[in-house]
Subunit: 351 residues, 2 copies
């Protein structure tokens, strides 16, 4: 591999520079992405077409000196492969034709049909081939709890009324959904690794909406199950795992013991304070507020330097935003960020 | 006063039971509130009519054995009194006719005209008289930063793109807005205290959307200014202050030094862990997930007991939700909560 700084940083090994990639780096802020998406017809058609998914995965690497590629896909492919019927209503978020709310719904629910996710694994193989060792490829999945949110609510939610009602009134039902999700996520990530993913990330987008006690019981516990079952090495190399709970800053000590090599941080926590709390247990990925990218190249550089300085010297930092990049971001501001990280993130004295 | 448990708990004095009130307790989940609102014509007409504001403030006390009343008003009265033109579009949140985005906008901005907020102070006086010492009355304001979010964005926001662009690219402009806001919030709370408010709360609804560094510089610093200027005693009694940053769990140690007597907690932090972190510096208010109220009386009681047990014995706990009550809450579930808190929250051994 030509540039494995990303993989080494995740394992807290010395790197030449602080590696950087950006959540949702292949996305609507890029005109070339929008062109390919238009060609595909819809977001879902794009995600389900391995050639086009490969095309958009590589687009941001052509523009910016990013240190990793991430599979272009959706976090909700698994419930789709459980037969719930994922679709995107115009101008709205993801929705499911069928929800999982009653005892009967839960009884009917089965593990995801991996064969129907062949398009994902084909995309992974194709991207790996196209990358040709340029940078590592990240595979990913939504966390068992985050998938359950969408499965029970039937789409996004402001207050997670339905899934939280189930959590408090019928925890047994939610536990059955989560056990199935954990099993499916594990198999899904392992198939991505088998197809060529060199690192994997679990996105727990909604775990931060839970109380402390509920997070531990309904989100963290099932993320642990996933990491316990995920393939550790492929092609003679460790496949590092990243665990990201948005809004999870209060739970870092527990997250650090979940079985991941690195934790993703949102921007609400100071990365130096996070490092002090987790010590040398895990690497850290993050954590610039995506909104900084709306400001100016000077402000972006200032903030990147601040975060790099707060992390300090020594290995174990992958620079990223604290959440997915906004569609309203000027692409030249991403360029300013990547350049600033590479210019200032030299990790001068590996610990 | 017949029941001053709430005021005593805020000052960490022993109480007969753990006092409880509910953020947004006079709200759309109550049919009688909706009837009064209909009579008023709109939310804003209701807030601006002292007699009707008094009527809805008292409604939840008729149904539930709550230990405090809170002025019925809106957090955005101050920018309205700065001449920005608050209005509510049907089915949407609050909006302003004029935003504050440019250097010229900021130069034009003046302190709130307290005389135009007379309707708030009249409501406070009227409610105090109507309460007749039954329970204490809480006055409140949005925090300087939260007000600035609405003033700059012109309404609610998913990503606070505009105000964060200003924060990173033109921090000087945002600081000028915040200084004005802090001055106006202080004067506003003092006028509420003069009119009869017996405790005050600062709602920092959006501070939790900031990075650690930005929170300290743009939200916390101005909340401190407010508390430094707020009247300490009225009628020979301390007027306790509550400071609530939603999503502020990572910053409790710093918030505890802001000059408030109590911190409001959202539900993402374990209240026992929060207490261990702030020690005896402040009382704590919270922190049940409002979504628990969607479940069942049994689950509500279980969760209330869990939170009371986590806080532990000794004074300094005001029970509340971790955020405003949802309009979809069954009122009988609120009854179940208040009864459960009073049954189990006996603070048996004051520290």
């Amino acid at each position: 591999m030509k540039n494995d700084n990303f993989l080494r940083a995740l394992l807290r090994e010395p790197t030449e520079h602080t590696p950087v990639w950006i959540m949702r780096q292949a996305g609507r802020y890029l005109p070339e992405y929008n062109a390919t998406r238009k060609k595909a017809g819809s977001f879902l058609a794009l995600a389900k077409n391995p050639e086009l998914a490969c095309e958009v995965t590589l687009q941001p690497l052509e523009r910016f000196a990013l240190d990793a590629a991430i599979l272009f896909s959706d976090i909700l492919t698994i419930p789709d492969a459980m037969g719930l019927g994922l679709y995107f209503a115009e101008g709205e978020g993801p929705k499911f034709e069928r929800t999982v709310r009653t005892e009967a719904d839960v009884a009917r629910l089965g593990a995801a049909d991996l064969e129907s996710l062949r398009y994902v694994f084909d995309a992974v193989s194709l991207i790996r081939k196209s990358l040709d060792g340029r940078v590592p490829l990240i595979g990913f999945s939504g966390s068992p709890f985050t998938l359950a949110c969408y499965m029970v609510e039937g789409g996004g939610s402001d207050d997670f009324r339905t899934v939280k009602s189930m959590l408090y009134a019928r925890p047994d039902l939610l536990h059955r959904i989560l056990a199935l999700n954990a099993q499916s996520v594990t198999a899904y990530l392992n198939a991505q690794i088998a197809a060529g993913a060199q690192a994997v990330m679990v996105f727990d987008t909604w775990g931060g909406a839970l109380s402390d006690a509920a997070y531990r019981e309904f989100s963290l516990a099932y993320a642990k199950e996933v990491f316990a079952g995920v393939t550790r090495t492929a092609g003679g190399r460790i496949v590092p795992r990243i665990f990201f709970t948005k809004g999870g800053g209060l739970w870092l000590e527990s997250m650090a013991k979940a079985g991941a090599d690195a934790l993703g941080l949102d921007w609400t926590i100071d990365i130096g304070a996070a490092r002090a709390r987790v010590g040398d247990q895990v690497a850290l990925q993050g954590n610039m507020d995506p909104a900084v990218l709306f400001s100016s190249p000077e402000a972006i550089e200032r903030e990147a330097k601040r975060i790099l300085a707060s992390f300090g010297t020594g290995p174990g930092h992958v620079f990223n935003l604290g959440h997915g990049i906004s569609q309203f971001t000027p692409p030249e501001h991403v360029h300013a960020l990547v350049e600033a990280v590479h210019r200032h993130g030299r990790n001068p004295s590996p610990a």
